[in-house]
């Protein structure tokens, strides 16, 4: 009688563990897909010399462009992360247009690390339209070869707070 009561509990727990493993694997797969393919993410290579020592240090800067098309750009948020070793963020600058000339918001913890979230908004009357450089990221690159970085424009909005489907790009800044 006692054994007959125990077995359903064990079966139930066993089924629960199976469900748990199944759901965990599904969630892990979903998260892996999210990490590997964030929507709107873009990978860019920063070229570098091959014939240098492993500890050779150089400095480059990448410009961040946002293309809002016909809309006026009032707010944007952008994420940068290097995908290779030897990339450290050492400085952040503002953009070309007066509305975004001041350095964007960022977490100072990003300095000397490989990931940063940049964001800015402007309540000015005159706002940029079309393709505009909104920020510049200064990088310290260590070692030979090109460095890969992933960027994503998280959000953009017009002056009335309406979200727009803008695009972004980055390019190595001219020295």
């Amino acid at each position: 009688m006692k054994r007959a009561r125990q077995f359903p509990i064990i079966r139930t727990l066993f089924a629960a563990s199976l469900l748990c493993v199944l759901s965990l694997s599904v969630r892990a797969q979903q998260e892996a897909e999210t990490v590997s393919q964030p929507p709107g993410a873009m990978t860019t290579d920063i070229p570098g010399p091959e014939q240098v020592a492993d500890d050779a240090v150089r400095f480059d800067a990448v410009d961040v462009f946002v293309d809002a098309g016909q809309e006026s750009l009032a707010a944007w948020q952008f994420e940068f992360q290097s995908r290779t070793e030897g990339v450290e963020i050492v400085g952040i600058e503002g953009g070309d247009h007066p509305a975004f000339a001041a350095p964007p918001f960022y977490d100072p913890k990003a300095m000397m690390h490989n990931r940063v979230i940049l964001a800015a908004f402007s309540t000015a009357e005159k706002l940029p339209t079309g393709r505009s450089r909104v920020a510049r990221i200064h990088l310290q690159l260590t070692g030979p070869g090109s460095k890969s970085c992933e960027t994503q424009l998280t959000t953009c909005a017009t002056a009335d707070g309406r979200k727009i489907a803008a695009t972004h790009s980055i390019a190595v800044a001219a020295k």
């Binding site: 125990q6 509990i9 064990i10 139930t12 727990l13 066993f14 629960a16 563990s17 469900l19 748990c20 493993v21 759901s23 965990l24 969630r27 009032a74 707010a75 944007w76 948020q77 964007p104 918001f105 960022y106 977490d107 100072p108 913890k109 990003a110 690390h113 990931r115 940063v116 979230i117 940049l118 964001a119 800015a120 908004f121 309540t123 998280t154 959000t155 909005a157 707070g161 979200k163």
Partner: protein
């Protein structure tokens, strides 16, 4: 002591001949003398005290293992199936901030931003109700500064007024790693 009426026995309703016949058919009651009864009990007690129940050890361990795994799995299942809200993630990441993080945090426009963010406690930074705190929340808050109808819940630093310092706090939270 017995205040109750005698039970209504069925034999009272039966024919007396039948009752007598049934009673005659029963074997005589066997009475066991108390000393024999006690001796039997003592013998059984001695015997049972030496007997050990041989449990199948493997099955016992397996049962406990299955029970333990099942309990842990059920707990993990609960954690897995419970929905995660972005606010929860934000608050969790805020809670992870150590004192070292606080000391390394920024000063924007003369404001001790991190201390104020820590004081804000994570409530009310999602100004536009999108479920996440991003720069649009700071933008919406900044645009609202020109209007008199501020929502008092948008006061991020608890100074009793909604102003530019609150906008800075929301913006800093949006970019916080």
């Amino acid at each position: 002591m017995n205040q109750f009426p005698p039970p209504d026995l069925p034999e009272d309703e039966l024919p007396q001949e039948l009752v007598a016949a049934i009673r005659a058919g029963q074997p005589p009651a066997i009475s066991v003398p108390p000393d024999i009864d006690a001796a039997v009990l003592n013998s059984a007690g001695r015997h049972l005290s030496t007997v050990t129940v041989a449990r199948p050890a493997g099955r016992h361990r397996l049962r406990w293992a299955v029970l333990s795994v099942g309990t842990v799995a059920a707990a993990m299942l609960l954690v897995t199936l419970l929905p995660r809200s972005p606010d929860m993630e934000t608050n969790r990441s805020m809670a992870r901030k150590s004192s070292a993080d606080i000391s390394a945090s920024p000063v924007v426009a003369g404001l001790s931003v991190t201390a104020d963010i820590a004081d804000a406690g994570g409530f009310g930074a999602d100004i536009d109700g999108s479920g996440t705190v991003d720069i649009l929340d700071a933008f919406v808050l900044a645009r609202s500064l020109s209007r008199p109808d501020h929502d008092v819940r948008w006061d991020q630093n608890g100074d009793g007024q909604v102003d530019d310092s609150d906008v800075q706090l929301v913006a800093m939270r949006a970019v916080m790693l």
